[in-house]
């Protein structure tokens, strides 16, 4: 993992942008994995939490003149608070109900942000320039050294949460809700917790997204964005820890490789997602894990 710190020295500035983007999307996809992959809740408004994080971070820097890192945390907290508000009524519903609620929420939040004047409404928001202490964080090179430790920390937190009692409760309630309940897992409360945690990841990713693109508008956090994140997770492998990172990397760099077909990009995305769901629902990393365990069993 320390070797990866050398990436910016090898890669050109142009591709470094995509490396940075991959890190952000890896955080996002890991966040989505907590709900979609582990507790099996469908959140179709996931990109709105990404957007809320980005806007909240920007707003706290501009309105309260907070420095960047506290603003980033603020963005994550606002996003997880909104997640909490949506989750408390949401988890009382069946799976379908939650999917519907978040779907409508995602559409509504675009309109809401589009009418907030000081956030630039539909015209978008120029993200303020960020710095830590005296160090100006400008350019893909410096941003990489901001993103990489945060992404790594969030990844390690994810791994550890999944190993803790919370993570085991998450897995249990998705697998056998009744059995989990009888073992003393409060299903609704843990579902809310998983949504809050995943919204926090999305919010942090949003706060990191701002400085990289320097310009955010409500349209970039709509249902297409959600689909993109869903695709990353499903192609990489739902429920696995490495899968989200693989998926994020693949889907960030794929448009670069397929640049001639940029017109067909969304179409290709849709078809790939459909094919993966029907043919290989466990995703790339999931498939590798299946192969490995199969080989292991045969040897025994």
């Amino acid at each position: 993992m320390i070797i990866l710190l050398g990436i910016p020295l090898i890669v050109s500035d142009f591709y470094l942008y995509y490396v940075d983007l991959t890190l952000i999307y890896a955080i996002l996809t890991t966040g989505l994995n907590i709900v979609l992959g582990i507790t099996k809740l469908i959140n179709f408004g996931f990109a709105s939490f990404f957007g809320i994080g980005a806007y909240a971070t920007g707003a706290s820097m501009m309105l309260f003149n907070l420095p960047y890192l506290p603003s980033l945390l603020f963005g994550g907290i606002v996003s997880s608070f909104v997640g909490l508000l949506l989750a408390v009524p949401g988890v009382r519903l069946a799976e379908i109900g939650f999917a519907l609620l978040t779907f409508a929420f995602g559409e509504a939040i675009v309109t809401v942000i589009g009418h907030i004047k000081f956030l630039g409404a539909y015209n978008g928001l120029m993200f303020p320039s960020v710095s830590i202490g005296l160090l100006d964080l400008k350019g893909n090179f410096r941003l990489f050294y901001l993103y990489y430790p945060i992404a790594l920390a969030l990844f390690i937190i994810y791994i550890n949460v999944m190993k803790s009692i919370i993570g085991r409760a998450f897995i249990a309630l998705a697998d056998r809700p009744v059995a989990a309940q009888s073992m003393g897992v409060n299903v609704n409360r843990y579902q809310v917790l998983s949504i809050v945690l995943s919204s926090f990841y999305a919010g942090i990713a949003g706060g990191l997204f701002g400085p990289l693109v320097t310009f955010i508008d409500p349209g970039s956090f709509d249902i297409m964005q959600t689909i993109l994140i869903f695709m990353m997770l499903i192609i990489g492998g739902t429920g696995t820890s490495i899968g989200p990172i693989i998926g994020a990397g693949l889907l960030i760099f794929m448009p670069e490789i397929l640049r001639e077909f940029s017109e067909y990009q969304n179409l290709i995305y849709g078809i790939i997602l459909l094919v993966f769901i029907i043919v290989m629902p466990e995703g790339i990393w999931g498939r590798i894990l299946v192969w490995q365990s199969g080989r292991f069993q045969r040897k025994r």
Binding site: I42, F44, L100, A108, V112, F230, N266, L273, I277
Partner: protein, 288 residues
């Protein structure tokens, strides 16, 4: 006051179109337990088909709908069983995501073929209006309501009285028992998708006379149809129709007194309220 009445009438017109789409959602949901997130996009194909047919062949209203019905039935009947493959893995998440991605594929195909700009329907609806003492109602609106109500009644009576309708209801109630009785669930699934697409496409075609055919029509409409179907409890045909009318009226009240922009927020609020207060809808006793 007159303004309010006009808004209510326009709400009823919109509601009659939304209710057809809600009805389609319920028809698919009942036997297959698939909540079809692609329904709006599939229905939108009908709007494009109808508008293009009118533009290119100068068809009349009746002829276009006549052409639309077999086309819609084939399209829906083909897509349905394809999306039901993930059903065999018995994962609700994968079915929902599969239907959503199917919707995206359809939407993008339409963008590639026709571009992102809206197409408007030529004047195939009568342009006169019925003059009542206080207000006047366009004949086009009356016609839209009439077509929708006829389609609705045909659907409801189809479910109630025909053998196939009974078979579909049997599959909803008990899949295994209906298998024993010699009903082929695959055929039922394909048939219900076909039916749902027919009424969805007719509805979107009618809608295109109001707002044109554009690639985001499906997603705009489907949120409202979902809200309507949830108000009705997702498994009740009558409930879905009622819910969609309610959504149509709320929609035009919001659009008339505030701004059309707030309609998505209103739909979300209505959905949130109904899910909080009556999670099973107004018409269904059983849980979702």
């Amino acid at each position: 006051m007159i303004y309010l009445v006009e808004i209510l009438i326009s709400g009823i017109v919109m509601g009659s179109m939304y209710s057809l789409i809600s009805l389609g959602l319920v028809i698919i949901y009942k036997p297959t337990r698939v909540l079809n997130f692609a329904h709006g996009d599939i229905s939108m194909v009908g709007a494009y088909f109808g508008v293009q047919a009118c533009l290119m062949m100068q068809l009349t209203l009746g002829l276009t709908i006549g052409l639309l019905i077999p086309f819609a039935f084939i399209v829906g009947g083909a897509i349905g069983p394809l999306l039901n493959i993930p059903l065999k893995q018995n994962r609700i998440t994968s079915i929902v995501i599969a239907s959503l991605s199917m919707g995206i594929v359809i939407q993008e195909l339409l963008v590639l073929k026709f571009g992102a700009f809206p197409f408007y329907l030529p004047a195939i609806f009568p342009e006169k209006s019925l003059d009542l003492p206080v207000i006047s109602i366009q004949y086009a609106n009356l016609l839209i309501i009439a077509i929708s109500v006829v389609v609705m009644l045909v659907m409801l009576s189809f479910f109630k009285f025909t053998k196939f309708g009974i078979a579909m209801r049997a599959v909803c109630q008990n899949r295994e028992a209906s298998l024993v009785m010699g009903i082929n669930p695959t055929v039922v699934v394909a048939f219900s998708w076909g039916l749902a697409s027919v009424i969805g496409m007719i509805s979107c075609f009618l809608l295109s006379s109001r707002m044109g055919a554009f690639p985001l029509l499906g997603i705009t409409v489907v949120i409202k149809a979902f809200t309507g179907a949830v108000i009705g409890g997702l498994t009740s045909l009558v409930g879905a129709v009622f819910g969609a009318f309610l959504v149509g009226i709320i929609d035009s009240l919001v659009g008339g007194y505030f701004s059309g922009d707030y309609q998505t927020i209103a739909a979300f609020m209505a959905l949130l309220l109904i899910l909080l207060l009556r999670p099973n809808g107004l018409f269904v006793k059983k849980s979702l």
